[in-house]
């Protein structure tokens, strides 16, 4: 009789912390056949990672397995002793970690990381191997993950490699011992979209060639379409729904799955929303603005200018949602900070409403005009201050009398759909979406005309993202705000922005309305960027611009250097 490669029956896991017990996994059942690609999707805290840790046997000490069983290749994992389970790690299944930087010890070279894993696994299984033999095997695996020149990689320290290369090394680490099941925990989430798409291609290719099974853990439904045959949807520790991915995506049975799928902004097709283009006078004008940072090389080294923004000229009309897209390090944030008056331009001239600042002039932050909402609401709110204390700062600044503070705070919270009772809460008592609402309320408190949104939704789950975006849209209509929206999430920008500009290495390479840019991208980089976005359906995939292999490689290399 054949049995599935991995089978989980009614697994219940609970965590006890601070004298309370929380039921984290509730009757989770899951099956992976040999050679199958299975995706486990769910939002933050749904229990995806706990499931993978239960399989690997790396649950923290305060976790307790209440009932259930996990069978790998017909063997019951919970019946094994520690040594037997230990032996399975790396050889039967292995995991590709999420964060390519923190998974490496910065003081050791890459080769040391790989060799250590190999050495101890060999020792465990009683195989004698010389350093040279191990190196040969390591080189093989590194070539497998498409890293040319294994010697150079092995001699490098983790920080010397790009994010994409580190992620590849992590995959190599997982492949060292030819596991049969590969668990990928949000691979490439921390990377740029073009690099992420390369990583996913690589994983797919490896699974194909080596006949591996794959358990893909992710919250990105676009990724699921590319890398899974079957899908399990998880929520609050329960499997909500499962089935072949096509069935789940096209005909979701449960409301939760439907909501999850609808929350994803489409890139092409009927669902796409075109925002009205603002036909007003520009409120922000940039004329040939450059900004370079001085980088000292060495202790007595000369100061060299590193150009973050190069000769940028652009106009943002009042009432517009101006999207600034680009990958990390492209100069988006620097440009926004220059507009806000937090940084002075090295050359060029900036006009915001009636205020001008240019080359060599002392800049002051344009607090009355511009306010900012940061990417991560977890770090942009002071953990030691309540919501009302946080909101009182800008109110104090606009010289609102103390007696009117409370009324204004309540109306601010009302604008972002939070009840009055939240005034006395501390940030840790709020969810991610609620924190971001408070951050938006703080930005609105000083009555700015321009709001800079620095990836305001990238730290949030898709369903929460949808709410926050709807809120921002409503606020713009009610208050007549102008948004400068910085993001790398192009499918969101397609639907949210009325004008979009693509930045590459400090330059704006293309701009126009989203409809124009997406249907007929001119610059090869824009094409490569759009092509790399994970989308939800085949129809959308077909409408993506075609990119030649050459062009794709060109921009990958650029992004790496």
């Amino acid at each position: 009789m054949t049995h599935p490669l991995l089978q989980i029956f009614d697994l219940n896991v609970s965590f006890s912390s601070y004298g309370r017990s929380t039921h984290v996994l509730k009757d989770v059942s899951l099956k992976i056949e040999k050679g199958e690609r299975v995706a486990l999707i769910g939002e933050t805290g749904s229990g995806k990672s706990v499931t993978s840790k239960s399989i690997l046997g790396t649950l923290p000490d305060n976790a307790r397995i209440d009932s259930g069983s996990i069978r790998f290749d017909g063997q019951e994992l919970f019946a094994m002793n520690d040594k037997e389970r230990e032996a399975l790690k790396g050889t039967a299944f292995s995991i590709i970690m999420q964060d390519p930087l923190s998974s490496f010890n910065p003081v050791f070279r890459i080769g040391r990381h790989l060799d250590d894993v190999m050495y101890f696994a060999d020792k465990r299984s009683g195989v004698k191997s010389s350093a040279k033999q191990r190196m040969a095997r390591i080189s093989d695996v590194l070539r497998q993950v498409q890293l040319e020149n294994p010697e150079r990689i092995c001699a490098a320290y983790p920080f010397q490699l790009s994010g994409g290369m580190r992620q590849r090394v992590l995959i190599a680490l997982a492949l060292l011992h030819r596991p049969t099941l590969l668990i990928a925990d949000e691979p490439g989430t921390a990377l740029d979209v073009t690099t992420q798409s390369e990583i996913l291609k690589l994983i797919n290719q490896l699974v194909d060639e080596e006949g591996l099974s794959l358990l893909m853990i992710t919250h990105n439904l676009g990724v699921v379409r590319q890398t899974a045959d079957r899908v399990y949807v998880m929520r609050h520790g329960e499997i909500v729904e499962h089935g072949p991915f096509r069935e789940i995506f096209e005909n979701p049975r449960k409301d939760y799955t439907k909501g999850l799928i609808e929350a994803i902004p489409p890139l092409y097709g009927d669902g796409v929303v075109d925002q009205p283009v603002a036909e007003t006078r520009p409120i922000i004008k940039l004329e040939k603005v450059s900004k370079s940072f001085e980088v000292k090389s060495g202790f007595f080294g000369k100061k060299a200018g590193y150009p973050a923004v190069k000769e940028t000229t652009l106009n943002i009309a009042e009432g517009e949602i101006f999207g600034l897209a680009g990958e990390s390090g492209s100069g988006k944030t620097t440009l926004a900070r220059t507009i806000m008056g937090l940084l002075g331009p090295t050359t060029g001239r900036i006009t915001v409403a009636t205020h001008q600042h240019g080359e060599g002039e002392k800049v002051t932050p344009l607090r009355e005009l511009t306010q900012i909402v940061y990417q991560n609401p977890g770090t942009s709110l002071n953990p030691k201050r309540t919501v009302s204390e946080t909101l009182s700062v800008p109110l104090h600044f606009v010289k609102l009398p103390k007696s009117e503070h409370r009324t204004r705070m309540v109306s601010l919270l009302d604008q972002v759909n939070l009840p009055e009772s939240y005034l006395s809460k501390y940030p840790h008592e709020l969810s991610g979406g609620q924190k971001q609402r408070v951050a938006i309320a703080r930005a609105l408190a000083a009555n700015p005309r321009i709001l800079v949104l620095d990836e305001p939704t990238s730290a949030l789950d898709v369903s929460v993202q949808k709410d926050v975006v709807a809120l921002l849209q409503r606020l713009r209509e009610e208050l007549g705000l102008t948004y400068l929206f910085i993001s790398h999430d192009l499918s969101l920008m397609r639907n949210f922005c009325s004008h979009i500009a693509i930045m590459l290495k400090g330059e704006i390479v293309e701009q126009g309305t989203p409809a124009e840019v997406f249907s007929n991208p001119q610059h090869p980089y824009t094409r490569a960027l759009i092509a790399a976005i994970p989308v939800m359906s085949d129809a959308e995939e077909e409408q993506k611009p075609k990119v030649s292999e050459e062009e794709r490689q060109q921009f990958l290399v650029q992004a790496r250097s």
Binding site: L260, R367, T379, N382, V393, F397, G433, A439, S463
Partner: protein, 290 residues
């Protein structure tokens, strides 16, 4: 409409801190010891058998008396009850702790916070100054000051304070520097907050945990240091009872009259241990590095 509601119960940080603290026996013992020392010092005249022995009393009949019912820990060379004097000795030790830490902690924390937040020249001056001060051994400094000025309690306090603020400056500097880089500091500045507001309302609350842990641990060191100074004769003048000078006095009669150093010696150990345990417990409770 939200698809996912957040129905997760959020534990308040106070509850988590109390949970960690109350499940830590060492921390609880430390708290009890510190509390007992504070109470003993505060109510010394009411709890000791011979409150008058804290002063210049001479009772030659019980000179060097061994421990008995009248003198639980014996009597010293002029017949004063050692137990009574030890309890009174806590007063001087704690006075030193409050004096030294009451000045050096606010001073060090303020300078450290300014240096961490403003950077630039403020940072260079403060860190330069702390480096210089830390290069001077505290005992040498205290001896120098005690000899140049006059060897008394105030000067001993002054000497310790002069050195001590640097530790707090360094610690708070580190915390303040990392907090200054947080988004919420820039957000507060964008919202129009003044430097004073940022320092006192945004940064300081995030430093309180570290400061209180360090201060508690410091109390133990100050007690030890104060005892060392008075052992060397740089502290309190007789007849005021002080733990360090009592050990110094009793030392001449070792090993026959062992009880004369036992009580003050043990008292130093007891108070130091209490503050250390409490400090460690607070560190685990606040989950900070200090």
């Amino acid at each position: 409409m939200s698809v996912i509601g957040s129905d997760e119960k959020v534990l308040s940080s106070r509850y988590m801190q109390w949970y960690r603290f109350s499940r830590n026996p060492a921390a609880l013992i430390g708290a009890v010891i510190v509390l007992s020392v504070l109470l003993a010092a505060l109510f010394a005249p009411y709890i000791v058998p011979h409150p008058d022995h804290a002063g210049a009393v001479v009772d030659f009949r019980s000179r060097h008396a061994a421990p008995d019912m009248a003198h639980w820990f014996g009597a010293d060379k002029v017949g004063r009850d050692i137990f009574s004097r030890t309890i009174f000795g806590f007063r001087i030790s704690l006075l030193l702790v409050f004096g030294v830490l009451g000045i050096s902690v606010p001073l060090g924390a303020t300078l450290g916070m300014l240096a961490g937040y403003f950077g630039g020249w403020t940072e260079r001056i403060v860190s330069g100054l702390t480096n210089v001060m830390l290069a001077i051994p505290p005992l040498v400094m205290a001896l120098a000051i005690g000899n140049v000025l006059e060897p008394n309690l105030v000067n001993a306090m002054f000497a310790i304070t002069l050195i001590w603020w640097t530790w707090h400056a360094r610690l708070v500097y580190r915390v303040s520097k990392s907090i200054s880089a947080e988004d919420y500091i820039e957000a507060a500045r964008m919202a129009g907050a003044s430097n004073f507001h940022v320092l006192t309302r945004e940064i300081l609350p995030n430093c309180i945990a570290v400061i209180s842990v360090k201060t508690t641990l410091d109390a133990a060191f100050v007690i030890l240091f104060g005892a060392t100074l008075s052992f060397l004769g740089l502290g309190v003048k007789p007849p005021i009872p002080d733990l360090g000078s009592m050990v110094a006095d009793g030392r001449q009669f070792l090993p026959e009259k062992w009880w004369e150093v036992l009580a003050p010696g043990f008292a130093i150990f007891y108070a130091t241990l209490g503050f250390n345990l409490l400090g460690d417990g607070l560190r685990d409770m606040f989950d900070v590095e200090a």
